[in-house]
């Protein structure tokens, strides 16, 4: 059998005899000491071992290793050689993902054995221990989800900010740990259900079925599907990194998956109810994929030239993901607007806040508000592209985040508090029912943003030689 060379290399680096022997030895000593000071409380030992094995070893340490596996190659100058190797994207992905955390998995397995042993002791004393399959699932599948997420985010970030190694791996690790915490440790679904009920908005008891017998199955399904998508994401990003040219069908498929999931999860009985959550997710994904993209003007120009030459493969392979997400959001918006009555009744809220009242105002003219959302997004994308083509393009992401943080709510809040709600469409996608005040301001903003971007685009595509 031919072992994946990247996996084998990681194992060489990770496993030394000292480490191999020290890990179980220290665990045995620690467990013995723990039982001594805690009066042989096996239930407590089981909880601590599960926490350490899951949250600390797999969730925290494993995500760090997964993210660092790439960062240390980049900073160590070995990444170029790896990209030049004959290893394919899949071999590279799993070799790094599993290999870099191989010692983590070894330690997690020791923790798993401690959980099993303590469960066994608890059951021998007449108690009920933890089901081994569930613990194994949490450790291994949950850990893989978190590490694949951290690995993917590290791949994305290192394309943009390889020089900030610590920052990027910490960010990737944090995201990976959050995924682990939310999906595996945090009972995300139950929390959501409780929050929906507390907010007074309707919640669906069958889907967000906190405490129902199907919860474990649903939870397992959610973790499994997330795991699958995380690994696919890591693989596709690795393909891009290794200069494979590929059509963005996986991203499109993911958006379709979001759509199907949103529709099937919705308790609503009409199109606008089904599409509301997918629409919001598409909006969010448009911004996220925009920031994840390296926004290389050369690649965009290449896509435009391919379009001009009707070279469809080149054009589609160079198309940025955020455009696809925007199209999905736009189509969902049109579908929602089509299915909506002009005014939707909203259940009365207990002491609605200004933000909720703005929301009620927006859904009072849903079609116009949806159109405004799409136009405001377009404006934002143009402004962010302008920043990306500017001489300070290396700081475009930070500038873009600051812009987005300040573009909406402070001005909207000031206008609202100043008693000028009819001017809200100038700064936020909240329709008032007056076509003039709703669309003229955003039209002017769009034209200005387009002018800024086009001027910069002309400048940057006017090539100068060194």
């Amino acid at each position: 059998m031919r072992i994946n060379p990247e996996f084998r290399r990681n194992v060489w680096v990770q496993f030394t005899w000292t480490r191999l022997l020290a890990a179980p030895l220290l665990t045995v000593i620690a467990c013995y000491a723990f039982l001594l000071v805690n009066n042989h409380d096996y239930r407590l030992l089981q909880k601590v071992a599960e926490f350490v094995g899951g949250s600390v070893i797999v969730g925290l340490w494993g995500t760090r290793r997964a993210a660092d596996s790439l960062a240390e190659e980049v900073s160590g100058g070995t990444w170029e050689s790896q990209r030049m190797s004959g290893l394919g994207a899949w071999q590279m992905t799993w070799g790094k993902l599993i290999g870099s955390a191989s010692f983590v998995w070894y330690c997690a397995t020791i923790a798993f054995l401690v959980v099993l042993w303590s469960s066994n002791r608890i059951e021998a004393l007449g108690g009920i221990g933890r089901p081994p399959l569930q613990v194994a699932f949490d450790f291994y599948v949950g850990g893989l989800v978190a590490q694949a997420a951290a690995f993917s985010i590290a791949l994305l970030l290192l394309r943009k900010a390889a020089q900030y190694r610590r920052l990027t791996i910490t960010l990737a690790q944090t995201c990976g740990f959050l995924v682990y915490f939310l999906f595996v440790r945090g009972d995300f679904s139950e929390q959501l259900s409780v929050r929906f009920r507390a907010s007074g908005l309707p919640s669906n008891e069958t889907f967000w079925s906190g405490g129902s017998p199907e919860l474990d199955l649903a939870r397992g399904f959610a973790i499994g599907v997330t795991c699958l998508w995380s690994i696919i994401a890591a693989y596709r990003l690795m393909r891009t990194e290794l200069q494979y040219r590929s059509l963005p069908w996986v991203w499109t498929l993911f958006l379709v998956f979001v759509l199907v999931l949103g529709i099937s999860a919705s308790p609503a009985e009409n199109a606008y109810g089904w599409l509301a959550i997918p629409f919001l997710v598409f909006v969010l994904l448009t911004y996220l994929s925009f920031f994840a993209d390296n926004r290389d003007p050369v690649r965009y120009r290449w896509a435009l030239l391919a379009l001009r030459d009707r070279n469809w493969f080149e054009m589609i392979s160079a198309i940025p993901w955020w455009i696809i997400s925007y199209v999905f959001a736009a189509v969902s918006a049109v579908a929602i607007a089509w299915s909506l009555a002009d005014v939707v009744g909203v259940e009365s809220m207990r002491e609605p806040t200004p933000a909720v009242r703005m929301f009620i105002m927006a859904v009072g003219h849903p079609s116009a508000s949806l159109a405004l959302v799409m136009l405001f997004m377009l404006r934002d994308l143009l402004v962010l592209l302008w920043l990306s083509c500017s001489p300070w393009r290396s700081k475009a992401d930070v500038a873009g985040i600051i812009y987005l943080a300040l573009a909406y709510w402070p001005l909207a809040a000031i206008l609202w508090i100043s008693g000028l709600p009819h001017l809200l469409p100038v700064v936020a996608p909240i329709a008032t029912g007056n076509i003039g005040t709703d669309f003229v301001p955003i039209g002017i903003e769009l034209a200005f943003a387009l002018f800024l971007f086009y001027a910069r685009w002309r400048e940057i595509t006017k090539l100068k030689r060194r």
């Binding site: 031919r2 060379p5 990247e6 084998r8 290399r9 060489w12 680096v13 190659e73 160590g76 100058g77 070995t78 170029e80 050689s81 790896q82 990209r83 030049m84 190797s85 004959g86 290893l87 394919g88 290794l242 200069q243 494979y244 040219r245 290389d296 003007p297 050369v298 120009r301 290449w302 083509c389 393009r393 400048e459 940057i460 090539l463 100068k464 030689r465 060194r466």
Partner: protein, 316 residues
């Protein structure tokens, strides 16, 4: 061996490679030279498939490097200017890993490791950690890694940078060995004197355009024409200046009773006639050296000449 066709590569706002086309003959060592920022490293990165060009293509033995990068990588080796090694691994592990990663079969891995180590004189270091090696040895290990799969085409970006003279001589020997084994090599370097020792061809690049490409001898011959000749006599002889003045086709730069320096544009025939004249006149000539123009001077002369040339450069 490798054919580059109309390569264009842009960075935002400027063109790094501008319609670059050339073909490298097999079993040659091509010196890739040019000023800082000329596009040498970009050209190597594009040829290696690490960067995708805006237009044009690179073909290695009929494989399009950018369409089938993995296949191309199994036939090429590349050492970037800033390379790293796995410091925690032994030299043997580093080589075994690279052999496996390049698709060398398990049965042939040991042989490949031994051969690569032998070629780069690392056999006695196989069990030493890469992190413990000197700079020169690290460089050799990196080249051994890049060539362990016996690629037909190898690119080395500034391989001699930071090496001491002894290590540079070792590197030159190693490159000659690789070429003798059938590999085609492109070496980029700023140290032109050392390229003179082992290169067979030269590829000059400036502002992203090829200035000259061809055998090194062509470049030297072209600029060598006004060759400088130095003459030394065993004993002073006042007739030296007089005899030299009578020889047509030479320009005497400096002369005294015992030494002379002159330039000649007449090539071998003029030099032969000059030497014959001196000997027949009974002058005790003990040294008659036609000083070969150094690559460095030839390079500078060609680059200056390129300032006034239209686009396209020369190709030999």
């Amino acid at each position: 061996m490798i054919r580059v066709e109309h390569l264009i590569f842009d960075y935002p706002g400027h063109r790094a490679l501008d319609d670059v086309s050339f073909e490298i003959a097999p079993r040659t060592i091509t010196a890739l030279v040019g000023p800082n920022g000329a596009g040498k490293s970009t050209l190597m990165r594009v040829c290696s498939g690490l960067e995708r060009p805006f237009a044009g293509r690179v073909r290695l033995q009929d494989i399009d490097v950018h369409e089938s990068p993995r296949e191309a990588h199994q036939r090429m080796g590349y050492l970037p200017d800033f390379f790293g090694l796995y410091d925690d691994m032994t030299v043997r592990q580093c080589l075994e890993y690279r052999a496996a990663a390049q698709g060398v079969s398990k049965q042939n891995q040991c042989d490949a490791v031994d051969r690569a180590a032998d070629r780069m004189q690392l056999t006695d270091r196989l069990n030493q950690r890469a992190g413990e090696l000197s700079r020169g040895l690290r460089q050799r290990l990196a080249i051994a890694q890049a060539t362990i799969h016996n690629p037909s085409f190898v690119m080395l970006d500034e391989p001699a940078s930071g090496l001491d003279p002894e290590a540079r001589i070792g590197l030159a020997g190693a490159l000659k060995t690789l070429c003798a084994e059938g590999m085609t090599i492109i070496v980029s370097s700023h140290i032109l004197a050392e390229l003179d020792d082992y290169s067979t061809h030269i590829l000059m690049i400036r502002d992203g355009r090829i200035v000259q490409h061809g055998p090194l001898s062509t470049l030297e011959g072209r600029i060598d024409d006004p060759a400088t000749i130095s003459i030394e006599l065993a004993a002073p002889d006042a007739r030296l200046a007089e005899i030299l003045a009578a020889v047509p086709g030479i320009v005497v730069q400096q002369v005294d009773d015992r030494h002379a320096t002159l330039s000649t544009g007449g090539g071998a025939a003029t030099r032969q006639a000059l030497l014959k004249g001196l000997v027949e006149a009974g002058l005790p000539v003990i040294d008659f050296t036609a000083e070969k123009l150094r690559l460095q001077d030839a390079y500078l002369a060609r680059m200056r000449a390129a300032d006034g040339e239209p686009r396209g450069g020369k190709s030999g």
